[in-house]
Amino acid sequence: MSLSGVSATALSLATDVRSGTIKATEVIDAHLAAIAALDGELNAFVHVLDGAAREAAVAVDRRVEAGEDPGPLAGVPVAVKDNLCLRGAPTTCGSRILEGWSPPYSATVLERLVDAGAILVGKTNMDEFAMGSSTETSVYGPTRNPHDLSRVPGGSSGGSAAAVAAGLAPLALGSDTGGSIRQPAAFCGVVGVKPTYGTVSRFGLVAFASSLDQIGPFARNVADAALLFDVIAGHDPLDSTSLDRPLVQVGPCLADGVAGMRVGVLAELVDGVDADVAARVHEAAEALAAAGAIVEELSVPEVRYGLPAYYLIAPAEASSNLSRYDGVRYGLRVEASDVAAMNSATRAAGFGPEVKRRIMLGTYALSAGYYEAYYGQAMKVRTVIVDAFAAAYRGVDVLLGATTPTTAFPIGAKTGDPLSMYLSDVCTIPTNLAGHAAMSVPFGTGAGGLPVGVQVLAPALGELQMFRVASVLEAAAPPTPAPSPPPQGSGGGVR
């Protein structure tokens, strides 16, 4: 069985709302109706902001009536991952330990969305603290893949990917630490973008691994993803790692094509992935060549060390980032005889098994006597990967590979085997370690008719060429089946 809600694109909705052709309230009502109809099965949302979303839509309509321009995302519903702080709304990261906590402030990206006229429609489900590749470790239960409800949507931003794929929102925000946007985008047949580290402010993103985390867009097409990217990208003085340099808007350059662009098919991101996925990558490369790109095969053997390095660096940073959930100030508290016992009891009850496993891994990697062998070594590997990519990018403008080694796997298939779960991020992790940009573009289907994503990798601040390639791939892609037919009555007047 499959599902779908509203199919209108963000660009068309924004255009129509700005011109007064449709009302933002109609748009939000259609999406809220779709959520009401479909999310019981999907479980993409952990918190729907019905009241606030409707109020925001009314305000947008008033501005349009008053002759003002509410902005490039006027009236466009956006779903946001539940690790983004929104003032006054529950923000739980899919964890029991943050039960009942509502932040007193909003993430910079959410402020930017609201300033651009967007309507925040709800908080989406995720693996607990973004640790996972299937959205199964959430305390709110698993999200289901709209293309096949027995399968995972990928993770950790599975709720956002599923919401966009199912037409519950045209746009969504996720966060990508090791592939948490691109992998679920591939599984759900949508576009997912991991921007260059420092391009999008992390202020208000609940940290998993600070040196790897980056917020990025989900959309059903490349132009919508570009629209959202152009709104959220930019310097933020509240994030010291935010890049303070002028950004080029990617939206206006989408139609520039790839003629003369040098594309490297990255052997390490093709060899060893499932045959159906590899076949789509090769077809994608051919499509680029047909569009005038200069395509070559190349190898960056160092990226093979990405996975082990990542599973030291990310847990190490996480072990420190998650220390603050101690029961003292907010969230869950389990009372005990003294402070230390209260800390332990709270953390024992509040964190799920995967989070505990990573905290232990990371604590060990940073411990006296082990630091050099583990964390120190992993940081050296990171430098090696950065250098290797730099060498590769001297010869090509972008790299091409699979986003994931497989298509979406069945719910429960990997929950008992953490290592096989970790391997689902093997193609996406190197980009995070390098701090580069990459995105997943739907490109046909694999076995069982499940969506396949092709990954476009670009050097730091290479979003422009990355989006141009993505645009050409989208045009050349075999059709991705829409999660259809929609159940009766969903979608309202807006389709």
Binding site: N83, L98, S211, S323, R329
Partner: protein
């Protein structure tokens, strides 16, 4: 003094709060004594998703301290120091570890001894826990209240080399460091408010040995006095342990001010593994030369230099006690008053003594003392308008409430004797006692006291002894 045959080896770790308007990583007020949890925000409360942004002013102050302590100022990196503590909002402290901003400096004590400075790095302060109910102490309290106003306040931690050899020298070091911090403008150095906090690493060894003994870190030293007492006690304790055939265990110890002893807090085995790693939310700190020049611009001379300048102003009129007084006025930042007075023609010895003794006794009062009024006050005693006793009474009021010293004196009835009326009284007294006058004129200066007594009697104590002597001298010279 260490027990005979033993030498103490002491290094001090001093935390000082910086005088920035805002905290180290957020815009909250850096203020002491406000209503609990009023100067807080998502960043200094460590709320999920919040990120630190470094306060440039704190970096400038750290550079001032580094410059004042003759350190090499280097590009630096922030690290996270991880441990669970309820008054630490993130359960890690952002500090500097193996790449601190200031390294390899020294501090010169008033006796010209140099103490090495290993490092002086930037870090954030923690909140403050108060144990309430039950016995009100950590172990028997019913609950604890945490005030996060102090969380995120910028600190510089100054780590000395183990160059200090006695409790007295440790006190001198702390006093000198405090004076340097105040002079640099980076900190107010108030131990009583906790803006300067001292931990002491103490070990002992036999004289002549160059091995290092096992050290203990003594905490909770809230005044120069407790610093001295605690070190004295700790030296004695360690020597007793070793002399009775035992071995000193490496420990963190707590100074119990009331009982006058140090007690074990935790052993080496219980020490935290802080799991330091580079803070990924901040970028490395590499200020350029112009930033550094701006930071130290306008920084006045440090205490050692100011002592030298003051001694030069005293023009040879310095005794051993005078040197102590010089150290005192510089330490308390009062040397400017002395210099102003001397330049205005006040006798150097009087200016120094009154400042080091009377003014220094009221540190609070000197903070808002008007230098003009102070010099005017000194002149009244210098010129014999006020007696020493009267002058002290006037100063007390001046320090307390401010105002014009002449008006204060008048209000107290210390009506300065008009010079001509004093001349008249002295003339009268001299005429009444010709025999004594004769002997005085022949050089028996003891008789000056006799005449002063007579004049005081005649004026009911309103005359200044000094002025009487001056008049006697004038008369005898003319006789």
């Amino acid at each position: 003094m260490s027990p005979a045959g033993w030498e103490a080896v002491i290094g001090l770790e001093v935390h000082c709060e910086l005088l920035t308007a805002t905290k180290l990583f957020c815009g909250c007020r850096n203020a002491f004594g406000d209503e609990p949890n009023t100067n807080v925000c998502p960043v200094c409360l460590g709320l999920p998703g919040s990120l630190p942004v470094l306060n440039e002013r704190a970096v400038e102050f750290a550079m001032r301290i580094g410059t004042a302590l003759n350190c090499e100022i280097r590009p630096s990196v922030f690290h996270r120091k991880n441990y669970f503590y309820p008054d630490m909002p993130k359960d890690y402290q952002i500090s500097q570890y193996d790449e601190p901003i200031n390294v390899d400096g020294w501090l010169e004590l008033p006796d010209s001894t140099r103490v090495g400075i290993v490092r002086a790095h930037i870090e954030e302060d923690t909140g403050k826990t108060t144990h309430v109910g039950g016995g009100g102490r950590i172990h028997d309290a019913a609950h604890a209240l945490v005030d996060y106003n102090r969380a995120g306040v910028p600190l510089v931690e100054i780590v000395s080399a183990p160059d200090i050899r006695s409790a007295d020298q440790a006190r001198l070091y702390a006093a000198e460091l405090r004076a340097i911090l105040v002079a640099s403008g980076a900190s107010d150095g108030r131990m009583e408010e906790g803006s300067m906090r001292v931990d002491a690493n103490v070990s002992v060894r036999r004289y002549g040995s160059d091995e290092m003994g096992t050290r203990c870190e003594v905490k909770n030293l809230n005044s120069l006095r407790s610093l001295g007492r605690a070190i004295e006690h700790e030296i004695g304790r360690q020597v007793a342990v070793v002399e009775s055939g035992g071995a000193v265990a490496q420990q963190t110890r707590h100074w119990d001010e009331a009982k006058g002893v140090t007690v074990a807090l935790r052993s080496k085995e219980e020490a935290f593994d802080y799991r330091y790693f580079p803070e990924p939310d901040l970028v490395p700190l590499a200020p350029d030369r112009s930033f550094r020049q701006r930071a130290v611009a306008g920084m006045g001379p440090m205490p050692a230099e100011r002592r030298r300048r003051l001694v030069a102003l005293l023009a040879g009129e310095v005794s051993a006690s005078g040197l102590d007084q010089v150290a005192t006025v510089v330490e308390l930042d009062l040397d400017g008053l002395v210099a102003a007075a001397i330049e205005a023609g006040i006798g150097p010895a009087l200016a120094l003594a009154r400042t080091a003794n009377e003014a220094a006794a009221d540190a609070e009062g000197t903070r808002h003392l008007d230098p003009g009024a102070y010099v005017k006050w000194l002149r009244m005693e210098n010129d014999g308008i006020l007696s020493a006793t009267q002058a002290k009474a006037v100063l007390a009021e001046l320090l307390d409430r401010g105002g014009d010293p002449a008006e204060i004196a008048a209000a107290k009835g210390f009506e300065a004797m008009a010079e001509d009326s004093l001349v008249a009284v002295v003339g009268e007294v001299v005429t009444r006692s010709p025999a004594e006058w004769e002997r005085y004129c022949q050089g028996d200066e003891k008789l000056a006291q006799f005449f002063i007594g007579q004049v005081m009697k005649a004026t009911r104590g309103k005359a200044s002894g000094k002025a009487v002597v001056a008049e006697l001298k004038r008369l005898s010279a003319g006789a």
